[in-house]
């Protein structure tokens, strides 16, 4: 039987969950024995294979139209979709901006900041993605496995991935269930 394939991508997050994934350290060797690690933001191949992968992992929440596209593409190309980290699961820290209007948030970032001079303006180009309300991934596409945590502990990530690699859906409970 061929090894299960895994791809990951990041959306509106801080990359911390991928860093925490790297914290599994030498256990990554064991992991690649079990799975074929395909596209990830921290490897050369960025987009998941068109032919599809077994497991797709998304870090970060949906903060704009581009995140939506990436999430939908991952959903289409994977059999099991994993939400990794508090941003993907709950919206996380970026979701704090939901308490303000998008306009206020953009003004704050590009115009009102003390370090911005009078030339500050909100970038506008048809090529840029449009900001949306911040949502967890499962508000946009169906998610099969949730791994909360900010970031999830490396041990928890390793546990979840090794379960997936062996064809089981990980069940997070007790010490493996941590939202913060």
């Amino acid at each position: 039987m061929a090894k299960p394939t895994v791809a990951s991508d990041w959306l509106g997050g801080c990359a911390g969950c991928h860093m925490s994934f790297l914290d599994i350290d030498e256990r990554i060797v064991k992991l690649v024995e079990l799975v074929d690690l395909r596209a990830t933001p921290i490897t050369d191949l960025k987009a998941p294979d068109k032919e599809g992968v077994t497991v797709g992992i998304l870090e970060g929440g949906i903060t704009n139209t581009y995140n939506e596209e990436v999430a939908k593409r991952m959903r289409e190309r994977c059999q099991i979709l994993v939400s990794l980290g508090d941003c993907a699961v709950f919206g996380g820290v970026p979701a704090m901006r939901n308490f303000f209007t998008i306009e206020d948030a953009l003004n704050r970032a590009y115009v009102d900041t003390p370090s911005t001079d009078d030339s500050g303006q909100i970038p506008s180009s048809p090529e840029l993605a449009k900001m949306t309300i911040v949502r967890p991934v499962h508000e946009v596409v169906k998610v099969d496995v949730f791994i909360p945590g900010c970031p999830p502990n490396a041990d928890i990530i390793f546990y979840a991935l090794s379960e997936l690699a062996q064809g089981r859906i990980p069940k997070l409970e007790d010490n493996n269930l941590m939202w913060n």
């Binding site: 709950f90 308490f99 967890p136 791994i147 409970e173 269930l177």
Partner: protein, 639 residues
């Protein structure tokens, strides 16, 4: 008794027991959020739903009384689904974001409940409405975004503290926890006791001093006694890396059952007096650092040369052990006077009265819990002995009368059912006249006229005192009252007349114990030398001035103060959180003081310091405080 079956186990419980409490007796765990053992059941969160055979729907076990042959199930799929649904609704109602919440990671009952149900995410998203945050209070932060509307805080504020500051404004999703009628907490009637913070299951009410400084799993807990006043409430001192993180009320404590006031809970957090870290000896008019042995030797010489010519003064924040050892030194060198720093005629009048009475005339403070009429005078106990005022205030909704005799503004003004503005100068006479009124020996209108009181108020008060089944007198002695002895006699006579229990507030935490060892709460210093165990007490300016008059002074103190500045020899000592010992509180209970923090290097406890002094002077302590207490004519039974 009622017999019922829970999860296949049969149990017999008292009629009226809730299903939740019956399950607890069987050690069956039913998750709860709005329920709190110290508060009346509310049935607001629906986490405790259980299946009852024959019932159409799931029932909240916290409010459901048991019934004969009831069959209860607590662990079915239907129940777990309901719990998950309840949690989903709660999470969607407000903004519960764990990564930046102070209680996340073990201290949040909401998060723990979600973990217990294996929730990895929220099926329903919050609606991103932001709720008000109130950070106007010096100690408490009120964060409506984390609120689950369980109303534990509202119930605690009313049922336990009797302050009724907290309440809810608006309805449904708009429900907002507010103080008074929407005032900022810091400007409201909140007295800062922090009971709401202690009962809050989430991060909705947090205390700003301990926030983010350590979770329950990261701190060490020491159960000891609060030294804020004479009551001696049980406290749980939480420390981390030898640093004070938080003080909580100890629910298992028999004195106050977990209640604390702002003085006990928050004031120690803001202690900012400068610590004395080395012994000091005055040389050429200036205090210079010295070794402990040098200071001990100089002190020994000073005491020996002033034999029979010195006064021993102690803080009543010191343990029985320390006081007994110090008494040995005072006796061995013929101290002319042994005093406490309380410097209060009213306090000493209480002890004097006790020495003239054949048996104790005061009751235990437990008696306040079911009293139906409180007569309060002498002091504003809402300031100095706050937990006693909680016991009184919380009984008012049940119909208790609260009669205060005071001319000045007091914290009871909004609560008292009757206020009699009588000047403290005529308090003794008025109390005797009140005694006569209660017996019906004199005309109310005449007495009202004599003291310039409203006749209706006086009639009301007398009637309330007469019809009460369990009247109590709370006599505040912490502030001096002119003619104290007369007031004390009148108060004791009145309590006998009315068959009312009396409680006097006495002085500091170990005031009664110090009296038991013969230290006088008032009186003048005698002789040229004063040996003072100031401990960590902060004296009033007036008291300070009295003791500053001593010609030469040896002061044992934890903190720098004008008294240590004018002393000849200063010994650094440990503060209340650093030492062990025993204390005798307001109603004669012997309470334990336990060390929660390590003292700075080289600083001894008061007890050790005195022991070393006695040793150097060649005196061995022979006094047993337990024995002395047995022969002490106390105003209240010691036990």
């Amino acid at each position: 008794m009622v017999k019922l079956t829970i999860d296949g186990q049969t149990i017999e419980v008292e009629n009226g027991t809730t299903v939740l409490n019956a399950a607890r007796q069987l050690e069956i765990d039913i998750p709860t959020l709005c329920d709190h053992p110290e508060l009346t059941p509310y049935g607001g969160c629906r986490m405790c739903l259980v299946e009852i055979e024959g019932a159409r729907t799931l029932q909240p076990s916290c409010t459901l009384p048991v019934a004969e042959d009831m069959v209860v199930r607590t662990d079915t799929e239907k129940i777990h689904a309901a719990r998950k649904f309840v949690l989903s609704m709660i999470f969607s109602e407000r903004n519960h974001f764990c990564p930046y919440c102070q209680v996340s990671g073990g201290d949040c009952e909401l998060q723990n409940s979600a973990y217990d149900e294996g929730m990895t995410h929220w099926p329903i998203q919050p609606n991103w409405q932001s709720y008000p945050i109130d950070a106007s209070h010096p100690f408490i932060i009120l964060e409506n975004n984390r609120c689950i509307l369980c109303r534990r805080c509202v119930r605690a504020c009313g049922e336990l503290v009797g302050n009724f500051t907290l309440g809810f404004e608006e309805r449904g999703a708009d429900s907002t926890l507010v103080a008074d009628l929407g005032l900022p907490l810091g400007e409201s009637s909140c007295i800062g006791c922090g009971t709401c913070v202690q009962v809050c299951p989430t991060g909705s009410l947090i205390d700003r001093w301990s926030a983010y400084q350590g979770k329950e799993t990261e701190v060490e807990s020491t159960k000891t006694t609060c030294m804020g006043c004479s009551i001696g409430c049980g406290i749980d001192v939480l420390t981390r890396d030898n640093r004070l993180v938080r003080i909580e009320g100890n629910w298992d404590d028999e004195v106050s059952n977990g209640l604390l006031c702002d003085v006990g809970r928050f004031h120690p957090m803001v202690e900012d007096r400068e610590r004395i870290l080395t012994p000091l000896i005055k040389k050429d008019g200036k205090l210079k650092a010295a070794t402990f042995d040098e200071a001990l030797e100089t002190a020994g010489e000073l005491i020996t040369s002033n034999q029979g010519n010195f006064s021993g003064v102690v803080s009543t924040r010191l343990s029985m052990e320390t006081l007994a050892k110090f008494k040995t030194v005072c006796q061995a060198f013929d101290a002319k006077a042994v005093l406490t720093t309380e410097d209060c005629q009213a306090v000493s009048a209480i002890y004097e009265k006790a020495s003239n009475e054949s048996k104790p005339f005061e009751g235990k403070i437990d008696g306040l819990r079911d009293a139906d009429c409180f007569l309060v005078f002498g002091e504003d106990i809402t300031k100095d002995h706050q937990v006693l005022s909680f016991f009184a205030k919380r009984q008012i909704p049940a119909g208790a009368e609260l009669i205060q005799i005071t001319e000045s503004d007091s914290g009871f003004d909004k609560f008292a059912t009757c206020t009699l503005p009588v000047n403290n100068k005529s308090l003794a006479d008025f109390l005797s006249d009140l005694g006569k009124l209660v017996k019906g020996d004199t005309e109310t209108s005449e007495i009202a006229k004599e003291y310039d009181l409203d006749t209706d108020s006086l009639v009301y008060a007398v009637n309330a005192l007469n019809t009460a089944e369990k009247p109590v007198i709370i006599f505040g002695t912490r502030n001096d009252i002119s003619g104290s002895q007369k007031v004390v006699s009148a108060a004791v006579a009145l309590s006998k007349n009315m068959d009312a229990m009396m409680v006097s507030t006495k002085g500091n935490i170990n005031s009664l114990g110090a009296a038991g060892l013969g230290f006088s709460a008032s009186g003048d210093m005698k002789g040229d030398l004063m040996v003072m165990l100031l401990a960590d007490e902060e004296l009033s300016q007036c008291t300070q001035q009295k003791f500053e008059k001593a010609k030469s002074k040896i002061v044992f103190s934890a903190y720098i103060s004008p008294l240590t500045a004018s002393a000849d020899i200063v010994f650094p000592v440990q503060n209340w959180l650093e030492q062990n010992g025993h204390l005798v509180n307001i109603d004669g209970r012997i309470l334990e003081q336990k060390s929660a923090l390590d003292a700075p290097e080289g600083i001894f406890s008061n007890e050790e310091s005195i022991e070393k002094l006695a040793e150097m002077l060649g005196k061995k302590s022979t006094i047993s405080w337990e024995k002395e207490l047995k022969s002490f004519a106390s105003p209240v039974k010691i036990a």
